[in-house]
């Protein structure tokens, strides 16, 4: 395995994030803008609870939603690269599958960090003051990275059913919208979907973040149970995604 090849792919992925306007808007800017709007309009509105504002309840879901947009990013880029022949061209270079997968692991660890810092930064600007500790913030990052990996898996699966980047981007919302509606910033109970929420990886991330931001002790076993389930689900979805990608990468 050659580090230079891994870092080359990581650099390319970062440039895509910054330079592709659609990717930039959907995966980087959309959620901070939503946080800004909801923070300004609902930052002092206690609609559902006497203890937390609507914005405070929704914020963990917004951060999870940012990770879900990775499904769009991965599906569109993989399908686009396949349609344009880039994937096949890259496959004729000495790049190995291990190097490619490792580069994806690094890229999709960095991306949720950027999303979290931007989203969380905007939330702090509009007055959000969570009760999390430094260790809690680290755990928040772990939750978001794991959710991102499930999203990468969903994105890779989606890309196999689309012939173009545009079609893949549209199909990606099959995986994004249910998770968004039932298990992110819209509280599931609010739309009567409480019994479905456990199906979605985003529920475990949103719930975990909510507990950490609320200042619940990190020794609480519920947080670790959520993390464990999210880890298991994400690993399965990611591995399935990689297997599907490897099987079809030359088609």
């Amino acid at each position: 395995m050659k580090t230079k090849r891994v870092l080359t792919i990581v650099k390319m992925e970062m440039l895509r994030l910054l330079r592709d306007p659609v990717v930039l808007v959907f995966t980087v800017l959309l959620v901070p803008v939503l946080i800004l709007i909801f923070g300004l309009t609902m930052g002092s509105n206690y609609g559902w609870s006497s203890e937390y504002t609507i914005f405070e309840i929704m914020l963990p879901g917004f951060l999870a939603y940012a990770c879900l947009m990775t499904i769009y990013d991965v599906a569109a880029s993989v399908a686009g690269e396949r349609a344009s022949g880039i994937q096949q061209r890259v496959n004729t270079t000495p790049l190995t599958s291990v190097e490619y997968i490792l580069s994806q692991l690094i890229s999709y660890t960095i991306k949720p960090l950027i999303q979290m810092f931007l989203g969380f930064g905007v939330a702090l600007l509009v007055g959000y003051r969570p009760l999390a500790t430094a260790a809690g913030y680290l755990l928040v990052i772990v939750f978001l990275v794991l959710l991102t990996f499930s999203s990468v898996g969903f994105g890779l699966i989606t890309a196999q059913f689309a012939k173009s980047a545009g079609a893949a981007g549209g199909l990606a919302f099959i995986f994004i919208v249910p998770q968004q509606l039932f298990a992110t910033f819209i509280p599931p109970a609010f739309i009567g979907a409480d019994s479905f929420k456990w199906i979605f990886p985003s529920f475990y991330a949103t719930e975990g973040l909510g507990y950490i931001f609320a200042g619940v002790s990190l020794t609480d076993s519920y947080i670790w149970m959520l993390l464990g389930i999210l880890l298991a689900i994400s690993a399965v979805i990611y591995i399935v995604g990689i297997l599907v990608y490897e099987k079809n990468k030359n088609k």
Binding site: K4, D20, R89, T92, T93
Partner: protein, 271 residues
Amino acid sequence: MLSTKENKNSDIKINAPDSFISIEVKNLKKHFKGKRKIESVKAVDGVTFHVEHGEFFGLLGSNGAGKTTTINILTGAVSPTEGTAVVGGYNVRTDLKEIKEIISVCPQEPSVYTFLTGIENIQFFGNLHLMSKKEILERAEELLKLLGLYDDRKRKTKRYSGGMLRQLSLIIALINEPDILFLDEPTVGMDPRARRKVWEFLGSIRRQNRTVILTTHYIEEAEALCDRVAIIDYGKVIAIGPPKKLIEEYEVTNLEEVFMKITGRRIVEGI
């Protein structure tokens, strides 16, 4: 001293990379499943040929004749259904890792990242071949100047014209100075002037003692550039040899007429 190793899948001997034979293809077949998965499409149907080291070899045929599939097998993009293909002394079924170290491909589509600049695309592929930054930049400068893209190297490729993208694609294929270069219809869709420029450039590659496999359906391209051509039709090689020799043998004036004499069709008509 040449070394040889036994090929597990056939009776032919595989020569070491320093052999005078760069590519050896024997009874190569690739059958794809049809739409209803019952009938199969014979994209390549028993192709046999060899390419010598430093030779500029053309695969000439209509669209859909099996040229690109043959290239895809030789570059490891698809695996053969039957037969043997040896590239640079390595078997495509078992030694893909080694093959990818010595080849480069210029695909039919330009295949570049549109959010990167021309030079960034070149650096990306140079890095995948583990070239140093200095090596990449020096080689890129030379190639960009030769093809007249130097002034546009820092522009994003989404602003390039179709012809510029194809030229960039060619530069990317040459950046790692491959022993064996595969060019899949490198000038298709180019205007005559740009095509002429690329032909001149490819002519300079001929003098570098590099093995080049070119697929094309342009008769003049094959006649102008190739030491030998294999004319492919319906996945089979129907004629092979130096263009002049084929023309003499069939008592015609160009390769188009050779193709017509054998198949009764024009190359551009497709199949």
